[in-house]
């Protein structure tokens, strides 16, 4: 019996969450420590229950910026050594080491955690692009090795996650010691499974990472659609489909974040009718082409990759997500209080309209995110006295 099934003993593939999300990005690329993200996510204590927390950080491995950084978790040393020989046959391993951690009260039975800095070997890629080769290998490992998972596989970024409260996971991985220009965090409240290390957020593939609050009711149809493109869902949590859908739409099909958001949270048919003709044609075509990637149900998500951070809520806003800016840093959070803890000097905060993406890009002024939001039909600016 596989590891996922042992820890996820009710075999749920869909978990109902009431989670907390936080993300921020310095669009100038200036890196900073993890203290503020830890303070922010820890403040949203009521949104999690200690059964999963995690962080994603971009720009943390400048010495290996051109190598794929694989973070792997294995149930035991034997599984790790099997994975090790598997990886060495298929990649040039430039460097590898245990992911540093310390013992934290309350964090029990952590898996064996290791990181590899890899380059694909072109002879083995057989017709695949470099990225597709990485996706293929991650899918193969995660679906076929029962006791080993690759939970982070991007360049110059990393995901750190596990079962515990966010402050415990932060301490466990020494999160404050990493320096990143884009930070993302999650605290999890699974309500009908015990929660397991692989099921904590963020979910990642290549340099994508996703944190999610809510429930993807369309998980079944999303998953079947993604399987046709070679993405296998192995983590037994609905959020996983978002990471793969992001990779398919924005990397392989080269859609912009704005258009991908219109696929995940497509405007309602009634709203399409009121759009100007040229805009309606685009949105209708997206809906017709990518109908199976519509994310139904209540959700708020943050998706990131190198150089880009995207916040998105469902079309009728059944989960909270707010945005703020200070200088060239864009903040996205489930709650306003957490945002103020991370940055007491916020200049603007707003509630985006449901289905309206909040987008931050490296090299673009953060204020663009606000300008785009206010162009939407109905965004609420939160004013501060």
């Amino acid at each position: 019996m596989g590891w996922a099934r042992v820890e996820n003993r009710y075999h749920d593939d869909k978990v109902y969450d009431a989670c907390g999300l936080f993300g921020f990005m310095d669009t100038t690329g200036t890196r900073q420590g993890g203290e503020r993200i830890v303070a922010a996510i820890t403040n949203m204590r009521e949104r999690g229950n200690g059964l999963g927390a995690g962080f994603a950080a971009y720009g943390i491995y400048p010495d290996f910026a051109e190598h794929y950084a694989f973070h792997v978790m294995c149930r035991n040393e034997q599984a790790r050594s099997e994975l090790d020989s598997y990886l060495r046959k298929r990649f040039a391993v430039v460097h590898d080491e245990p992911i540093p951690y310390r013992h934290v009260h309350g964090i029990i039975d952590p898996p064996v955690l290791w990181r590899y800095f890899l380059l694909p070997q072109s002879a083995q890629m057989v017709g695949r692009s470099e990225e597709d080769y990485i996706v293929h290998q991650v899918m193969t490992i995660n679906s076929q090795m029962e006791e080993a998972f690759v939970f982070s596989s991007g360049k110059n970024m990393g995901i750190f996650k596990g079962v515990g409260h966010p402050e415990q996971i932060a301490e466990f991985y020494n999160i404050c010691d990493y320096r990143a220009y884009l930070w993302m965090a999650h605290t999890r409240f699974p309500t009908n499974t015990p929660g397991w290390w692989g099921g904590a957020h963020p979910f990642g593939l290549l340099d994508w990472s996703v944190v999610h609050n809510g429930e993807i009711s369309s998980y079944g149809v999303n998953r079947r659609y993604l399987e046709m493109y070679g993405y296998l869902c192995t983590m037994r949590t609905d959020t996983e489909v978002l990471a793969y859908a992001a990779d398919l739409l924005m990397r392989r099909h080269a859609l912009s974040a704005e258009l991908a958001a219109a696929v995940f949270a497509s405007p309602l048919w009634g709203e399409l009718e009121h759009m100007p003709e040229d805009k309606r044609r685009i949105y209708r075509a997206l809906r017709q082409t990518y109908g199976p990637l519509l994310m139904n149900g209540p959700f708020a998500i943050i998706i990131a990759r190198n150089g880009e951070m995207i916040g998105l809520g469902d079309r009728v806003r059944l989960r909270p997500l707010i945005a703020g800016i200070k200088g060239n840093t864009l903040y996205i959070s489930s709650e306003l209080s957490a945002m103020y803890l991370a940055e007491p000097g916020l200049e603007h905060t707003w509630i985006p309209q449901g289905g309206q993406a909040i987008i931050g890009r490296l090299g673009e002024p953060a204020k663009l995110a606000r300008e785009h939001a206010l162009q939407a039909a109905c965004a609420t600016e939160l004013n501060y006295a």
């Binding site: 403040n43 949203m44 204590r45 009521e46 009121h274 009728v316 806003r317 909270p320 707010i322 709650e335 306003l336 209080s337 957490a338 103020y340 803890l341 905060t349 509630i351 309209q353 449901g354 039909a377 109905c378 965004a379 609420t380 600016e381 939160l382 004013n383 501060y384 006295a385």
Partner: protein, 272 residues
């Protein structure tokens, strides 16, 4: 800081207003909320009120939930910082003033008392509110006034100075929702969609105009009566006094009055 204005739930009749919190030195208590969990903070508030505190000033509030929930006395609480979700949930009596913005679920199932927000509020403000009053200076999020209700002469009131996001007054079954949209010119349209979806009681007044396509299927527009005018005048004057803004400008309207078309919009849903 504006003078506290008291609008203790005066259901049906708007004459009964009383001044809260005699500002005696011994009645005023300052409390630092930094680092406190909400349970601890609410317990402290409860004890202070039991011991006779009349005015409490909270400093450094950072997301603590349910503030004011179990206080059944007419105490004046000023909040500095960002109060957490469900501020004033089930509240019955206190006057809460937030010097900033509130998060989601403010006034959840509130029974009596007043919440004044010198900023904006998030989603589901006044969720299932049963009595009392909420005044918001600026804007509010989604589903404000959802499931708001009234019983006989107990009638909750929400007045919003700015605009609201979608599903305003969703499933509303009682009470009064006033959206003043002070940033809109008199001929400008509200951006809010699905207004009054599922509404089957109560009344919504919007200053400015709204596209009929933006209304829920269960509401219709009705002409303003003399009683409506009187009610708007009362609440808008109170609002203007509270936030030191121009009542006359707001009272010029025009106003749209939205009422449910039926008391039981879904009565036939499963009956064929």
């Amino acid at each position: 800081m504006p003078e506290p204005i008291v609008m203790q739930a005066a259901p049906g009749s708007f004459s009964r207003s009383e001044t809260l919190g005699a500002q005696t030195a011994q009645g005023l208590v300052e409390l630092d909320a930094r680092g406190s969990h909400y349970r601890e903070l609410n317990q402290k508030l409860y004890e202070l009120v039991q011991r006779g505190a009349e005015r409490i000033v909270l400093q450094g509030v950072a997301g603590q939930r349910y503030l004011g929930t179990n206080l059944r006395k007419q105490v004046h609480i000023t909040i500095n910082g960002v109060p957490g979700n469900d501020l004033g949930a089930f509240m019955d009596g206190p006057f809460i003033e937030v010097l900033g913005s509130a998060q989601d679920g403010c006034g959840n199932t509130m029974n009596g008392g007043t919440i004044v927000i010198h900023g904006s509020a998030g989603d589901i403000l006044g969720y299932s509110m049963r009595g009392g009053k909420i005044l918001v200076r600026d804007n509010v999020g989604y589903r404000v006034g959802i499931h708001m209700k009234e019983y006989e002469s107990v009638r909750p009131v929400i007045v919003i100075g700015g605009t609201a996001q979608h599903f305003l007054g969703e499933y509303m079954s009682g009470g009064v929702l006033i959206v003043l949209a002070s940033q809109l010119g008199p001929d400008e349209y509200h951006p809010t969609r699905y207004v009054g979806t599922g509404m089957h009681g109560g009344v919504i007044y919007l200053r400015g105009r709204i596209e009929s396509a933006y209304l829920g299927k269960e509401v219709g527009q009705a002409p303003l009566t003399a009683e409506d005018e009187w009610l708007l005048q009362h609440h808008i004057q109170e609002f203007a006094q509270c936030f030191q803004t121009d009542a006359e400008y707001l009272l010029r309207g025009p106003f749209v009055k939205l009422v449910p078309l039926t008391r039981r919009p879904y009565g036939q849903l499963y009956a064929y």
